[in-house]
Protein backbone atom coordinates (compact mmCIF):
# COMPACT_ATOMS: atom_id res chain seq x y z
CA UNK A 1 0.00 0.00 0.00
CA UNK A 2 3.06 2.24 -0.10
CA UNK A 3 3.78 2.42 -3.78
CA UNK A 4 3.10 4.69 -6.71
CA UNK A 5 1.11 1.82 -8.27
CA UNK A 6 -1.24 1.61 -5.27
CA UNK A 7 -1.70 5.39 -5.12
CA UNK A 8 -2.50 5.55 -8.86
CA UNK A 9 -4.92 2.60 -8.50
CA UNK A 10 -6.54 4.23 -5.47
CA UNK A 11 -6.94 7.60 -7.21
CA UNK A 12 -8.69 5.93 -10.17
CA UNK A 13 -10.99 3.96 -7.84
CA UNK A 14 -11.97 7.09 -5.87
CA UNK A 15 -12.75 9.11 -9.01
CA UNK A 16 -14.67 6.32 -10.78
CA UNK A 17 -16.54 5.39 -7.57
CA UNK A 18 -17.87 8.89 -6.91
CA UNK A 19 -18.46 9.75 -10.58
CA UNK A 20 -20.38 6.56 -11.44
CA UNK A 21 -24.14 6.12 -10.84
CA UNK A 22 -24.72 5.37 -7.11
CA UNK A 23 -26.28 1.96 -7.87
CA UNK A 24 -23.00 0.75 -9.36
CA UNK A 25 -20.82 1.79 -6.38
CA UNK A 26 -20.84 -1.58 -4.61
CA UNK A 27 -19.88 -3.32 -7.86
CA UNK A 28 -17.09 -0.82 -8.51
CA UNK A 29 -15.66 -1.39 -5.03
CA UNK A 30 -16.01 -5.14 -5.47
CA UNK A 31 -14.21 -5.02 -8.84
CA UNK A 32 -11.48 -2.83 -7.30
CA UNK A 33 -11.12 -5.26 -4.37
CA UNK A 34 -10.87 -8.21 -6.77
CA UNK A 35 -8.26 -6.40 -8.88
CA UNK A 36 -6.28 -5.47 -5.74
CA UNK A 37 -6.28 -9.03 -4.44
CA UNK A 38 -5.55 -10.65 -7.81
CA UNK A 39 -2.60 -8.27 -8.22
CA UNK A 40 -1.23 -9.31 -4.80
CA UNK A 41 -1.99 -13.00 -4.79
CA UNK A 42 -1.54 -16.44 -6.27
CA UNK A 43 -4.35 -18.60 -7.68
CA UNK A 44 -4.54 -20.51 -4.35
CA UNK A 45 -5.01 -17.25 -2.43
CA UNK A 46 -7.71 -16.02 -4.77
CA UNK A 47 -9.48 -19.41 -4.59
CA UNK A 48 -9.37 -19.30 -0.76
CA UNK A 49 -10.92 -15.85 -0.63
CA UNK A 50 -13.57 -16.78 -3.20
CA UNK A 51 -14.21 -20.01 -1.25
CA UNK A 52 -14.77 -18.12 2.02
CA UNK A 53 -17.11 -15.68 0.27
CA UNK A 54 -19.28 -18.38 -1.35
CA UNK A 55 -19.21 -20.71 1.67
CA UNK A 56 -19.99 -17.92 4.19
CA UNK A 57 -22.78 -16.59 1.99
CA UNK A 58 -24.43 -20.01 1.61
CA UNK A 59 -24.08 -20.93 5.31
CA UNK A 60 -25.56 -17.53 6.21
CA UNK A 61 -28.53 -18.05 3.88
CA UNK A 62 -29.10 -21.55 5.28
CA UNK A 63 -28.98 -20.33 8.88
CA UNK A 64 -31.39 -17.53 8.07
CA UNK A 65 -33.94 -20.04 6.80
CA UNK A 66 -33.97 -21.88 10.15
CA UNK A 67 -35.61 -20.87 13.44
CA UNK A 68 -33.18 -19.46 16.05
CA UNK A 69 -33.10 -22.60 18.19
CA UNK A 70 -32.17 -24.85 15.25
CA UNK A 71 -29.26 -22.86 13.86
CA UNK A 72 -26.45 -24.33 15.97
CA UNK A 73 -25.52 -27.32 13.75
CA UNK A 74 -25.31 -25.07 10.66
CA UNK A 75 -23.22 -22.52 12.58
CA UNK A 76 -20.84 -25.28 13.68
CA UNK A 77 -20.46 -26.46 10.07
CA UNK A 78 -19.70 -22.87 9.00
CA UNK A 79 -17.21 -22.22 11.80
CA UNK A 80 -15.51 -25.60 11.34
CA UNK A 81 -15.23 -25.07 7.57
CA UNK A 82 -13.74 -21.58 7.79
CA UNK A 83 -11.50 -22.22 10.82
CA UNK A 84 -10.45 -25.53 9.25
CA UNK A 85 -9.14 -23.75 6.18
CA UNK A 86 -7.36 -21.12 8.31
CA UNK A 87 -5.72 -23.76 10.50
CA UNK A 88 -4.75 -25.90 7.49
CA UNK A 89 -2.95 -22.97 5.91
CA UNK A 90 -1.33 -21.74 9.13
CA UNK A 91 -0.17 -25.12 10.37
CA UNK A 92 0.16 -27.38 7.32
CA UNK A 93 1.30 -24.98 4.62
CA UNK A 94 2.26 -21.72 6.34
CA UNK A 95 4.50 -20.59 3.50
CA UNK A 96 1.57 -20.55 1.06
CA UNK A 97 -0.91 -18.80 3.42
CA UNK A 98 -2.97 -16.34 1.39
CA UNK A 99 -2.48 -12.66 2.19
CA UNK A 100 -4.81 -11.49 4.95
CA UNK A 101 -6.37 -14.92 5.53
CA UNK A 102 -6.55 -14.49 9.34
CA UNK A 103 -8.30 -11.16 8.87
CA UNK A 104 -10.87 -12.05 6.22
CA UNK A 105 -11.71 -15.40 7.88
CA UNK A 106 -12.52 -13.59 11.15
CA UNK A 107 -14.55 -11.00 9.22
CA UNK A 108 -16.63 -13.79 7.67
CA UNK A 109 -16.98 -15.63 11.02
CA UNK A 110 -18.31 -12.46 12.66
CA UNK A 111 -21.18 -12.49 10.14
CA UNK A 112 -22.05 -16.15 10.76
CA UNK A 113 -21.94 -15.84 14.57
CA UNK A 114 -23.99 -12.62 14.50
CA UNK A 115 -26.67 -14.33 12.40
CA UNK A 116 -26.70 -17.18 14.92
CA UNK A 117 -27.32 -14.69 17.75
CA UNK A 118 -29.83 -12.85 15.57
CA UNK A 119 -27.81 -9.64 15.73
CA UNK A 120 -27.76 -9.05 11.94
CA UNK A 121 -30.19 -9.95 9.17
CA UNK A 122 -29.07 -12.44 6.52
CA UNK A 123 -27.40 -10.68 3.58
CA UNK A 124 -29.23 -11.73 0.41
CA UNK A 125 -27.14 -9.78 -2.09
CA UNK A 126 -24.05 -11.86 -2.80
CA UNK A 127 -22.12 -8.81 -4.09
CA UNK A 128 -22.68 -6.97 -0.80
CA UNK A 129 -21.48 -9.95 1.21
CA UNK A 130 -18.47 -10.42 -1.07
CA UNK A 131 -17.53 -6.76 -0.59
CA UNK A 132 -17.98 -7.09 3.20
CA UNK A 133 -15.35 -9.88 3.26
CA UNK A 134 -12.99 -8.57 0.59
CA UNK A 135 -13.10 -4.73 0.78
CA UNK A 136 -9.58 -3.88 -0.35
CA UNK A 137 -8.49 -1.30 2.27
CA UNK A 138 -9.04 -3.85 5.08
CA UNK A 139 -8.15 -7.15 3.43
CA UNK A 140 -4.39 -7.20 4.10
CA UNK A 141 -4.41 -6.58 7.86
CA UNK A 142 -7.85 -5.44 8.94
CA UNK A 143 -9.30 -3.68 10.86
CA UNK A 144 -11.35 -6.88 11.18
CA UNK A 145 -14.86 -5.87 10.15
CA UNK A 146 -17.94 -6.68 12.18
CA UNK A 147 -21.13 -7.61 10.42
CA UNK A 148 -23.21 -5.30 12.63
CA UNK A 149 -21.08 -2.29 11.66
CA UNK A 150 -20.00 -2.81 8.04
CA UNK A 151 -22.87 -4.68 6.33
CA UNK A 152 -25.49 -1.96 7.03
CA UNK A 153 -23.07 0.61 5.54
CA UNK A 154 -22.60 -1.49 2.38
CA UNK A 155 -26.35 -2.08 2.08
CA UNK A 156 -26.95 1.68 2.25
CA UNK A 157 -23.87 2.66 0.27
CA UNK A 158 -25.69 3.70 -2.88
CA UNK A 159 -27.51 6.39 -0.93
CA UNK A 160 -24.38 7.76 0.74
CA UNK A 161 -23.88 11.28 -0.55
CA UNK A 162 -20.46 12.47 -1.66
CA UNK A 163 -18.94 14.50 1.14
CA UNK A 164 -15.93 16.76 0.80
CA UNK A 165 -15.32 16.33 4.55
CA UNK A 166 -15.18 12.51 4.24
CA UNK A 167 -12.67 12.70 1.40
CA UNK A 168 -10.56 15.34 3.16
CA UNK A 169 -10.61 13.43 6.47
CA UNK A 170 -9.79 10.17 4.66
CA UNK A 171 -6.82 11.69 2.83
CA UNK A 172 -5.58 13.30 6.08
CA UNK A 173 -5.73 9.93 7.84
CA UNK A 174 -3.85 8.28 4.97
CA UNK A 175 -1.16 10.98 5.03
CA UNK A 176 -0.70 10.53 8.79
CA UNK A 177 -0.62 6.75 8.27
CA UNK A 178 2.10 7.02 5.61
CA UNK A 179 4.07 9.36 7.88
CA UNK A 180 3.88 6.96 10.83
CA UNK A 181 4.96 4.04 8.65
CA UNK A 182 7.76 5.50 6.53
CA UNK A 183 9.02 8.33 8.73
CA UNK A 184 8.84 6.57 12.09
CA UNK A 185 8.32 2.79 11.91
CA UNK A 186 10.66 2.16 8.98
CA UNK A 187 13.34 4.43 10.47
CA UNK A 188 13.07 2.75 13.88
CA UNK A 189 13.32 -0.60 12.08
CA UNK A 190 16.77 0.42 10.87
CA UNK A 191 17.85 0.30 14.52
CA UNK A 192 15.73 -2.63 15.75
CA UNK A 193 16.09 -5.02 12.79
CA UNK A 194 19.90 -5.43 12.83
CA UNK A 195 19.79 -6.10 16.58
CA UNK A 196 16.92 -8.61 16.54
CA UNK A 197 18.02 -10.27 13.30
CA UNK A 198 21.42 -11.02 14.82
CA UNK A 199 21.06 -10.89 18.62
CA UNK A 200 24.06 -13.13 19.26
CA UNK A 201 26.51 -10.30 18.63
CA UNK A 202 24.55 -7.65 20.54
CA UNK A 203 25.38 -6.97 24.17
CA UNK A 204 24.11 -4.49 26.78
CA UNK A 205 23.03 -1.19 25.22
CA UNK A 206 23.44 -2.68 21.74
CA UNK A 207 20.26 -4.71 22.35
CA UNK A 208 18.67 -2.63 25.15
CA UNK A 209 18.35 0.51 23.00
CA UNK A 210 16.65 -1.35 20.11
CA UNK A 211 14.43 -3.14 22.68
CA UNK A 212 13.23 0.21 24.07
CA UNK A 213 12.39 1.39 20.55
CA UNK A 214 10.69 -1.89 19.56
CA UNK A 215 7.19 -1.16 21.00
CA UNK A 216 7.17 2.16 19.15
CA UNK A 217 8.21 0.53 15.89
CA UNK A 218 5.50 -2.13 16.19
CA UNK A 219 2.88 0.47 17.12
CA UNK A 220 3.76 2.93 14.33
CA UNK A 221 3.92 0.15 11.78
CA UNK A 222 0.50 -1.23 12.64
CA UNK A 223 -1.20 2.06 13.53
CA UNK A 224 0.27 3.59 10.35
CA UNK A 225 -1.16 0.74 8.27
CA UNK A 226 -4.52 1.06 10.09
CA UNK A 227 -4.73 4.80 9.41
CA UNK A 228 -3.99 4.22 5.70
CA UNK A 229 -6.70 1.53 5.59
CA UNK A 230 -9.28 3.57 7.51
CA UNK A 231 -8.41 6.71 5.55
CA UNK A 232 -8.76 4.93 2.19
CA UNK A 233 -12.14 3.51 3.26
CA UNK A 234 -13.32 6.89 4.55
CA UNK A 235 -12.43 8.52 1.23
CA UNK A 236 -14.79 5.99 -0.36
CA UNK A 237 -17.53 6.80 2.16
CA UNK A 238 -17.09 3.76 4.43
CA UNK A 239 -16.15 3.87 8.11
CA UNK A 240 -13.98 1.02 9.36
CA UNK A 241 -13.53 0.19 13.03
CA UNK A 242 -10.67 1.85 14.95
CA UNK A 243 -7.76 -0.34 16.03
CA UNK A 244 -5.93 1.87 18.52
CA UNK A 245 -6.92 4.40 21.13
CA UNK A 246 -3.63 5.71 22.53
CA UNK A 247 -2.61 2.27 23.90
CA UNK A 248 0.65 3.44 25.47
CA UNK A 249 -1.27 5.90 27.63
CA UNK A 250 -2.90 2.91 29.40
CA UNK A 251 -2.67 2.80 33.19
CA UNK A 252 -3.42 -0.92 33.71
CA UNK A 253 -3.04 -4.13 31.72
CA UNK A 254 -6.81 -4.37 31.09
CA UNK A 255 -6.78 -0.72 30.00
CA UNK A 256 -3.98 -1.57 27.51
CA UNK A 257 -6.01 -4.37 25.94
CA UNK A 258 -9.04 -2.16 25.51
CA UNK A 259 -6.89 0.20 23.43
CA UNK A 260 -4.62 -2.18 21.44
CA UNK A 261 -5.63 -3.89 18.16
CA UNK A 262 -9.22 -3.23 19.18
CA UNK A 263 -10.83 -4.88 16.15
CA UNK A 264 -9.16 -8.24 16.96
CA UNK A 265 -9.53 -8.13 20.75
CA UNK A 266 -13.12 -6.82 20.48
CA UNK A 267 -13.85 -9.82 18.24
CA UNK A 268 -12.19 -12.24 20.66
CA UNK A 269 -13.95 -10.63 23.64
CA UNK A 270 -17.40 -11.02 22.09
CA UNK A 271 -17.05 -14.44 20.48
CA UNK A 272 -14.55 -16.28 22.72
CA UNK A 273 -14.03 -14.58 26.08
CA UNK A 274 -17.67 -13.74 26.88
CA UNK A 275 -19.15 -17.18 26.05
CA UNK A 276 -16.42 -18.94 28.08
CA UNK A 277 -16.32 -16.58 31.07
CA UNK A 278 -20.11 -16.30 31.22
CA UNK A 279 -20.50 -20.07 30.78
CA UNK A 280 -18.15 -20.60 33.72
CA UNK A 281 -19.60 -17.81 35.89
CA UNK A 282 -20.34 -20.27 38.67
CA UNK A 283 -16.57 -20.41 39.28
CA UNK A 284 -16.47 -16.86 40.66
CA UNK A 285 -13.22 -14.96 40.11
CA UNK A 286 -11.77 -17.93 38.22
CA UNK A 287 -14.33 -17.49 35.41
CA UNK A 288 -12.83 -14.34 33.83
CA UNK A 289 -9.34 -15.80 34.28
CA UNK A 290 -10.36 -18.95 32.40
CA UNK A 291 -11.83 -16.75 29.67
CA UNK A 292 -8.68 -14.61 29.52
CA UNK A 293 -6.30 -17.54 29.11
CA UNK A 294 -8.42 -19.15 26.40
CA UNK A 295 -8.68 -15.82 24.57
CA UNK A 296 -4.97 -15.03 24.73
CA UNK A 297 -3.87 -18.52 23.76
CA UNK A 298 -6.23 -18.35 20.79
CA UNK A 299 -4.82 -14.94 19.91
CA UNK A 300 -1.33 -16.53 19.96
CA UNK A 301 -2.50 -19.25 17.57
CA UNK A 302 -4.12 -16.57 15.38
CA UNK A 303 -0.71 -14.82 15.07
CA UNK A 304 1.04 -18.01 14.01
CA UNK A 305 2.59 -21.31 14.97
CA UNK A 306 5.72 -20.10 16.77
CA UNK A 307 6.09 -21.00 20.46
CA UNK A 308 7.21 -17.42 21.11
CA UNK A 309 3.64 -16.28 20.39
CA UNK A 310 2.35 -18.68 23.06
CA UNK A 311 4.93 -17.27 25.49
CA UNK A 312 4.00 -13.68 24.56
CA UNK A 313 0.29 -14.39 25.06
CA UNK A 314 0.98 -16.18 28.36
CA UNK A 315 2.87 -13.16 29.73
CA UNK A 316 -0.07 -10.88 29.01
CA UNK A 317 -2.66 -13.41 30.25
CA UNK A 318 -0.69 -13.87 33.48
CA UNK A 319 -0.41 -10.14 34.16
CA UNK A 320 -4.12 -9.67 33.43
CA UNK A 321 -5.03 -12.60 35.70
CA UNK A 322 -3.09 -10.99 38.55
CA UNK A 323 -4.97 -7.74 37.92
CA UNK A 324 -8.35 -9.50 37.98
CA UNK A 325 -7.46 -11.43 41.13
CA UNK A 326 -6.23 -8.40 43.04
CA UNK A 327 -8.85 -5.88 41.88
CA UNK A 328 -9.72 -3.61 44.80
CA UNK A 329 -12.24 -0.90 45.54
CA UNK A 330 -11.13 2.41 44.15
CA UNK A 331 -13.27 5.50 44.36
CA UNK A 332 -10.71 8.31 44.17
CA UNK A 333 -8.95 9.00 40.84
CA UNK A 334 -5.27 8.12 40.36
CA UNK A 335 -2.77 10.82 41.27
CA UNK A 336 -0.40 12.15 38.59
CA UNK A 337 2.47 10.28 40.22
CA UNK A 338 0.54 6.99 40.22
CA UNK A 339 -0.44 7.46 36.56
CA UNK A 340 3.22 8.09 35.66
CA UNK A 341 4.45 5.02 37.56
CA UNK A 342 1.73 2.82 36.10
CA UNK A 343 2.60 3.96 32.55
CA UNK A 344 6.26 3.19 33.21
CA UNK A 345 5.30 -0.30 34.41
CA UNK A 346 3.15 -0.85 31.28
CA UNK A 347 6.08 0.25 29.08
CA UNK A 348 8.45 -2.18 30.81
CA UNK A 349 5.88 -4.95 30.34
CA UNK A 350 5.54 -4.03 26.64
CA UNK A 351 9.30 -3.98 26.06
CA UNK A 352 9.68 -7.40 27.67
CA UNK A 353 6.66 -8.94 25.92
CA UNK A 354 7.61 -7.43 22.54
CA UNK A 355 11.10 -8.94 22.78
CA UNK A 356 9.40 -12.33 23.15
CA UNK A 357 7.03 -11.48 20.27
CA UNK A 358 9.91 -10.37 18.00
CA UNK A 359 12.42 -13.14 18.82
CA UNK A 360 12.59 -16.05 16.39
CA UNK A 361 12.63 -18.78 19.07
CA UNK A 362 12.39 -19.24 22.83
CA UNK A 363 16.15 -19.96 23.26
CA UNK A 364 16.76 -16.67 21.44
CA UNK A 365 14.66 -14.84 24.06
CA UNK A 366 17.02 -16.25 26.70
CA UNK A 367 20.03 -15.16 24.68
CA UNK A 368 18.68 -11.60 24.23
CA UNK A 369 17.93 -11.21 27.95
CA UNK A 370 21.33 -12.61 28.96
CA UNK A 371 23.12 -10.38 26.47
CA UNK A 372 21.19 -7.37 27.72
CA UNK A 373 22.63 -7.87 31.21
CA UNK A 374 26.21 -7.53 29.91
CA UNK A 375 26.37 -3.77 30.30
CA UNK A 376 29.47 -1.79 29.38
CA UNK A 377 27.73 1.50 28.63
CA UNK A 378 30.60 3.67 27.38
CA UNK A 379 31.98 1.18 24.86
CA UNK A 380 28.53 0.00 23.73
CA UNK A 381 27.31 3.57 23.27
CA UNK A 382 30.36 4.29 21.08
CA UNK A 383 29.60 1.19 19.04
CA UNK A 384 25.91 2.16 18.65
CA UNK A 385 26.90 5.66 17.56
CA UNK A 386 29.34 4.25 15.02
CA UNK A 387 26.65 1.89 13.71
CA UNK A 388 23.72 4.33 13.39
CA UNK A 389 25.12 7.83 13.81
CA UNK A 390 24.23 10.23 16.62
CA UNK A 391 21.58 12.14 14.68
CA UNK A 392 19.69 8.95 13.72
CA UNK A 393 19.61 7.75 17.34
CA UNK A 394 18.57 11.15 18.69
CA UNK A 395 15.78 11.47 16.09
CA UNK A 396 14.64 7.89 16.82
CA UNK A 397 14.28 8.63 20.54
CA UNK A 398 12.65 12.00 19.82
CA UNK A 399 10.09 10.20 17.59
CA UNK A 400 9.42 7.59 20.29
CA UNK A 401 9.05 10.35 22.90
CA UNK A 402 6.67 12.26 20.61
CA UNK A 403 4.49 9.16 20.13
CA UNK A 404 4.48 8.56 23.90
CA UNK A 405 3.56 12.18 24.67
CA UNK A 406 0.71 12.11 22.13
CA UNK A 407 -0.57 8.87 23.68
CA UNK A 408 -0.63 10.16 27.23
CA UNK A 409 -2.85 13.12 26.37
CA UNK A 410 -6.59 12.57 26.43
CA UNK A 411 -8.57 13.67 23.40
CA UNK A 412 -7.30 15.29 20.24
CA UNK A 413 -3.68 16.32 19.98
CA UNK A 414 -3.14 20.03 20.43
CA UNK A 415 -0.33 21.12 18.17
CA UNK A 416 1.23 24.51 18.88
CA UNK A 417 0.08 26.94 16.20
CA UNK A 418 -3.06 24.92 15.52
CA UNK A 419 -5.07 28.16 15.33
CA UNK A 420 -2.87 29.17 12.43
CA UNK A 421 -3.56 25.80 10.75
CA UNK A 422 -7.31 26.45 10.72
CA UNK A 423 -6.83 28.62 7.64
CA UNK A 424 -7.11 26.45 4.54
CA UNK A 425 -3.94 27.72 2.77
CA UNK A 426 -1.91 27.11 5.94
CA UNK A 427 -3.31 23.58 6.21
CA UNK A 428 -2.34 22.83 2.64
CA UNK A 429 1.17 24.11 3.27
CA UNK A 430 1.36 21.77 6.29
CA UNK A 431 0.10 18.77 4.23
CA UNK A 432 2.66 19.52 1.50
CA UNK A 433 5.40 19.71 4.13
CA UNK A 434 4.43 16.30 5.57
CA UNK A 435 4.24 14.87 2.04
CA UNK A 436 7.65 16.32 1.22
CA UNK A 437 9.07 14.91 4.47
CA UNK A 438 7.67 11.46 3.61
CA UNK A 439 9.34 11.53 0.18
CA UNK A 440 12.57 13.18 1.35
CA UNK A 441 13.16 11.59 4.78
CA UNK A 442 10.95 8.52 4.61
CA UNK A 443 12.24 5.05 3.98
CA UNK A 444 10.19 4.02 0.98
CA UNK A 445 12.05 0.93 -0.13
CA UNK A 446 9.94 -1.45 1.93
CA UNK A 447 6.26 -2.11 1.35
CA UNK A 448 5.83 -4.82 3.96
CA UNK A 449 3.88 -4.30 7.16
CA UNK A 450 4.55 -6.37 10.27
CA UNK A 451 0.90 -7.44 10.52
CA UNK A 452 0.83 -8.41 6.84
CA UNK A 453 2.44 -11.65 8.03
CA UNK A 454 -0.68 -12.79 9.95
Amino acid sequence: MISATFLAFFAVVVIVHWAAPPRSRVFILLAASAAFYIHEQTIAGIASLAGIVVFGYLVGRRMGSLPEDRRLPTLLVGVAGELGMLIAYKYVAPSSSPLGISFFTFTSLSYLIDIYYDMVPVERRVANYALYVSFFPQIVSGPIARATKLLPQIDAHESRAFSYDDVAEGLRLMLWGFAQKVLIANRLAEITDPAFDNPAGMQGLMILVPAILLPFQIYCDFAGYTDIARGAARTLGIDLLPNFEHPYGATSPSDLWRRWHMSLYGWLTDYVYTPIAMGARGLGRLAPILGLWTTFLLSAVWHGTKLTYIAWASIHALVLSVEVWRRKARTEPLSRGEIFLRRCAIMILLIFADIVFRARSLPEVGLILTNMAHLAPAAQLRELLAMHGASHLIIAFAMAALIQIIQTRPGPVVVPGVRFLRARPARWVAYCLVFWAIIYFGRLDTDTFLYGAF
Binding site: D118, Y273, M278, R281, R327
Partner: protein
Protein backbone atom coordinates in the same frame (compact mmCIF):
# COMPACT_ATOMS: atom_id res chain seq x y z
CA UNK B 1 -42.25 -7.14 40.53
CA UNK B 2 -42.22 -3.76 38.77
CA UNK B 3 -39.29 -2.41 36.77
CA UNK B 4 -38.72 0.21 39.47
CA UNK B 5 -38.53 -2.52 42.13
CA UNK B 6 -36.04 -4.45 40.00
CA UNK B 7 -33.86 -1.32 39.63
CA UNK B 8 -34.07 -0.66 43.37
CA UNK B 9 -32.78 -4.18 44.03
CA UNK B 10 -30.11 -3.89 41.32
CA UNK B 11 -28.60 -0.73 42.81
CA UNK B 12 -26.93 -2.38 45.85
CA UNK B 13 -25.67 -5.23 43.62
CA UNK B 14 -24.06 -2.72 41.23
CA UNK B 15 -22.66 -0.73 44.16
CA UNK B 16 -20.98 -3.85 45.55
CA UNK B 17 -19.70 -5.36 42.28
CA UNK B 18 -18.40 -2.07 40.84
CA UNK B 19 -17.27 -0.87 44.28
CA UNK B 20 -19.01 2.48 44.07
CA UNK B 21 -21.49 3.30 46.89
CA UNK B 22 -22.80 6.35 45.00
CA UNK B 23 -23.92 4.37 41.93
CA UNK B 24 -27.64 4.54 41.11
CA UNK B 25 -29.09 2.15 38.53
CA UNK B 26 -31.00 3.76 35.64
CA UNK B 27 -32.30 2.40 32.33
CA UNK B 28 -29.89 4.41 30.20
CA UNK B 29 -26.77 3.40 32.20
CA UNK B 30 -24.07 1.72 30.03
CA UNK B 31 -20.73 0.14 30.90
CA UNK B 32 -18.80 3.15 29.60
CA UNK B 33 -20.47 5.34 32.29
CA UNK B 34 -19.29 3.17 35.19
CA UNK B 35 -15.59 3.07 36.08
CA UNK B 36 -14.54 -0.55 36.52
CA UNK B 37 -17.44 -2.02 34.53
CA UNK B 38 -15.67 -4.02 31.85
CA UNK B 39 -15.87 -7.51 30.37
CA UNK B 40 -14.01 -8.82 33.46
CA UNK B 41 -16.36 -7.42 36.14
CA UNK B 42 -19.42 -7.96 33.93
CA UNK B 43 -19.15 -11.71 34.64
CA UNK B 44 -19.36 -11.11 38.40
CA UNK B 45 -22.26 -8.70 37.98
CA UNK B 46 -24.35 -11.18 35.96
CA UNK B 47 -23.54 -13.97 38.45
CA UNK B 48 -24.68 -11.77 41.39
CA UNK B 49 -27.86 -10.72 39.58
CA UNK B 50 -28.73 -14.36 38.87
CA UNK B 51 -28.10 -15.34 42.48
CA UNK B 52 -30.21 -12.49 43.86
CA UNK B 53 -33.20 -12.94 41.53
CA UNK B 54 -32.83 -16.75 41.38
CA UNK B 55 -32.86 -16.74 37.57
CA UNK B 56 -30.63 -17.96 34.73
CA UNK B 57 -29.85 -15.48 31.96
CA UNK B 58 -29.08 -16.93 28.51
CA UNK B 59 -25.81 -16.02 26.78
CA UNK B 60 -27.81 -14.84 23.78
CA UNK B 61 -29.61 -12.32 26.00
CA UNK B 62 -26.37 -11.14 27.64
CA UNK B 63 -24.77 -10.48 24.24
CA UNK B 64 -27.76 -8.46 23.07
CA UNK B 65 -27.95 -6.17 26.11
CA UNK B 66 -27.17 -2.59 25.20
CA UNK B 67 -27.82 -0.89 28.55
CA UNK B 68 -29.18 -1.51 32.05
CA UNK B 69 -32.73 -1.08 30.73
CA UNK B 70 -32.24 -4.26 28.67
CA UNK B 71 -30.96 -6.09 31.77
CA UNK B 72 -34.05 -4.95 33.72
CA UNK B 73 -36.32 -6.22 30.91
CA UNK B 74 -34.48 -9.54 30.89
CA UNK B 75 -34.84 -9.93 34.69
CA UNK B 76 -38.52 -8.96 34.41
CA UNK B 77 -39.13 -11.68 31.79
CA UNK B 78 -37.15 -14.34 33.66
CA UNK B 79 -38.84 -13.65 37.03
CA UNK B 80 -42.28 -13.63 35.39
CA UNK B 81 -41.67 -16.95 33.56
CA UNK B 82 -40.37 -18.51 36.79
CA UNK B 83 -43.44 -17.31 38.69
CA UNK B 84 -45.75 -18.46 35.89
Amino acid sequence: MTREEIKAQLTPIFQTVFKNPALVVQDQLVAADVPGWDSLSNVAMIAEVEKHFKIRVKLREILKMKNVGDLVDCIDRSVASRAG
